[in-house]
């Protein structure tokens, strides 16, 4: 009936706690580490592995490590020789750039990292950012090469270390991007000649290792140029990176283009927009927004790929580290150096990949129904 008959209502059982065996720390241990015979064995093996490797590692890296030493002899011991890093870090970071002018590559690193971070924040996307990039790059160019504003001229042979790595990666991706868009559009074009050329380029470049493209640029570009025209080593490597990255980026962009529903194109046509207007205003913005996570992954790959220039004699971060090892006063500290440089690369790449994962999650949220 209408009135609530409380006596009839089944009383709520008192809020019970779950049994101890299935909750709290013990519950977590049981559920996650020991929930079956097989898992128990695995846990024991994993703990054994950790016990065998972690304490010796900590001992090598911290406890027995030498933090201060005048030369290689004094630094030899059971542990790591971090004094070597203390001695060589400026060389590893900035390479052969003139010692007293190294504030310039430092600024370059800060500017580039700043630009990249700014581009990560979606709220800052807009016309201002589009102008900030070329401005930033011009400043980077001036700072690195000098020759104006009272700055000493430094030829590109002396650009080395972390600034070189960043410049190769960032400039490579920036210039490869428009080229990639053209290639992707070309691959989907209705004109057979354009399509064949685009496909041929993409498949050719994707089918060969980056080293061969670097060799090709390093050795063959001078041959391609008319008599008297020279091209410096850095520019050759940069061109190689741009050509290489463009092919991979083109496939990523093509993925985005393929995902655009046909209705978008039909609506654009119905409105009377031509091919180029439709592409520029409707298709590309949507396609590019869709493929931002794979684009970031590509950038991480490009960043790692810069380490290959050591083969053609450019002094990126990896090569400066390698060169630091050839000092006769400090012999045999390869592990320390490689760990140090690995940590630098790891920081950059790990945070970029975390960012890409976060992006993917936020963007997918928009697509979920």
């Amino acid at each position: 009936m209408a009135d609530i008959d409380i006596a009839e209502e089944i009383p709520l059982p008192a809020q019970q706690r779950p049994p101890v065996v299935t909750s709290g720390v013990i519950g977590w241990l049981r559920a996650n580490l020991f929930n079956s015979v097989f898992n128990t064995i695995l846990t024991i093996l994993a703990v054994y592995l950790l016990v065998m490797t972690v304490p010796p590692l900590i001992r090598w890296a911290f406890i027995d490590a030498v933090w201060d030493a005048p030369n290689g002899q004094a630094c030899r011991g059971e542990g790591a020789c971090w004094a070597f890093i203390g001695e060589k870090w400026r060389f590893i970071f900035f390479g052969r750039f003139p010692y007293d002018a190294q504030w310039r590559p430092l600024f370059v690193v800060v500017i580039i990292i700043g630009l990249v971070l700014a581009s990560c924040d979606r709220r800052l996307w807009g016309r201002r950012l589009m102008l900030l990039w070329p401005a930033g790059l011009v400043v980077v160019g001036i700072l690195m090469s000098g020759g104006v504003f009272g700055l000493r001229y430094v030829p590109s042979e002396y650009w080395s270390g972390l600034p070189l790595t960043l410049i190769l990666a960032v400039v490579g991706m920036l210039f490869a991007f428009p080229f990639a868009i053209l290639l992707a559009l070309g691959r989907r074009s209705n004109l057979p000649a354009v399509r064949v050329v685009s496909v041929a380029y993409i498949e050719l470049v994707r089918g060969v290792p980056l080293i061969t493209v670097l060799f090709m640029a390093s050795v063959m570009l001078p041959l391609f140029l008319p008599e008297g025209v020279t091209i410096d080593k850095l520019l050759r490597a940069q061109v190689a990176f741009i050509l290489f990255a463009a092919a991979y980026l083109a496939e990523v962009v093509r993925g985005g283009l393929q995902a655009i529903p046909k209705g978008q194109i039909e609506a654009a046509d119905a409105l009377g927009l031509g091919y180029w207007r439709r592409t520029r205003l409707i298709v590309l913005p949507q396609a590019l927004a869709m493929v931002i996570p794979p684009l970031v992954n590509n950038f991480i790959g490009a960043f790692k790929n810069t380490s290959l220039v050591l083969i053609i004699g450019l002094f990126d971060l990896l090569n400066t580290a390698n060169t630091a090892l050839t000092d006769s006063n400090w012999q045999g500290f390869a592990s320390e150096t490689y760990v140090f440089v690995a940590a630098i690369y790891f920081c950059f790449c790990f945070f970029m990949s975390r960012y890409s994962q976060r992006l993917e999650r936020t963007l997918n949220r928009g697509h979920r129904r």
Binding site: I10, Q16, P18, P19
Partner: protein
């Protein structure tokens, strides 16, 4: 808590085929099933309803061990449900389940979907399995789709295939977890028709559903769950006409608004 009201069958009281006694379940600290007591007799049709998050799906999934209960006893077809794999497998052979998302195997044809379990679990020869499969496809009225793939069928057809797939194992109990919630309206009827036919042939059924019309036609007992506990149970005529609890009344007013 003493046993809840048993169903009011036409014949003499049927032996119970599902018994849940003081069942509790926690997800971490969250108490999702609170003191569930339920007895389902052979041939009885139970419809479970309630707001989302009330634990109704969790409860029926405990019956075939798709979810694990921490306290209490569950006895299905005379077998007690414990962590003993033998018991679990025996119970799963006798309990069929139809899911909201159909869960047909997309890489197998309809016929292969139906014959997979009979061949590999009941160890039937292929011919017999196919014969059974075609029989049940006929029963759900889509015999011509036998060699198609699930991706080629409509939602309603897929769900009917899912029902036929469970029936091929000749289970004693059929569990339905919101079988029509993912279907477009025009396809709900074809699935409900199959379920009504199944009910009329005497299958023991426990259905979680929002389809109250179906419940009125088929159910022997309505169970209302809210926040992890069974609030009310009654035969449909009493349940709809005279809900005893305020929470039941609130729920019914929301769901029967149209």
């Amino acid at each position: 808590m003493s046993n809840a009201a048993e169903a009011m069958p036409v014949q003499a009281p049927a032996p119970s085929i599902i018994e849940m006694q003081a069942v509790h379940k926690w997800y971490g600290e969250f108490h999702v099933l609170k003191d569930i007591n339920l007895v389902v007799g052979r041939g009885e049709k139970v419809v479970v309803c309630g707001p989302s998050g009330s634990g109704k799906s969790t409860m029926i999934r405990c019956i075939n061990r798709l979810e694990e209960h921490q306290q209490g006893r569950i006895i299905v077809a005379g077998i007690e449900l414990t962590s003993d794999l033998k018991n679990i497998e025996a119970i799963r052979r006798e309990v069929g389940m139809v899911f909201q998302q159909f869960n047909l195997f997309p890489h197998l044809t309809v016929l292969e979907n139906l014959t997979l379990a009979p061949i590999w679990v009941r160890k039937m020869p292929k011919k017999d399995a196919e014969e059974t499969a075609r029989y049940y496809l006929e029963r759900v009225k889509i015999p011509e789709q036998a060699d198609k793939y699930p991706g080629q069928l409509s939602g309603g057809q897929q769900q009917r295939v899912a029902i036929a797939r469970s029936l091929c194992m000749k289970p004693e109990i059929m569990l339905f977890d919101e079988p029509t919630s993912a279907l477009d309206p025009e396809m709900i009827k074809e699935v409900l028709d199959v379920m009504v036919e199944l009910a009329q042939e005497g299958m023991t059924m426990v259905c979680v559903t929002h389809e109250m019309g179906f419940a009125r036609t088929v159910a022997d007992m309505m169970v209302f769950m809210d926040r992890g506990e069974i609030v009310e149970r009654a035969p449909p005529q009493d349940f709809f006409a005279n809900p005893k609890s305020e929470r039941t009344r609130l729920f019914l007013s929301q769901i029967l608004a149209h």
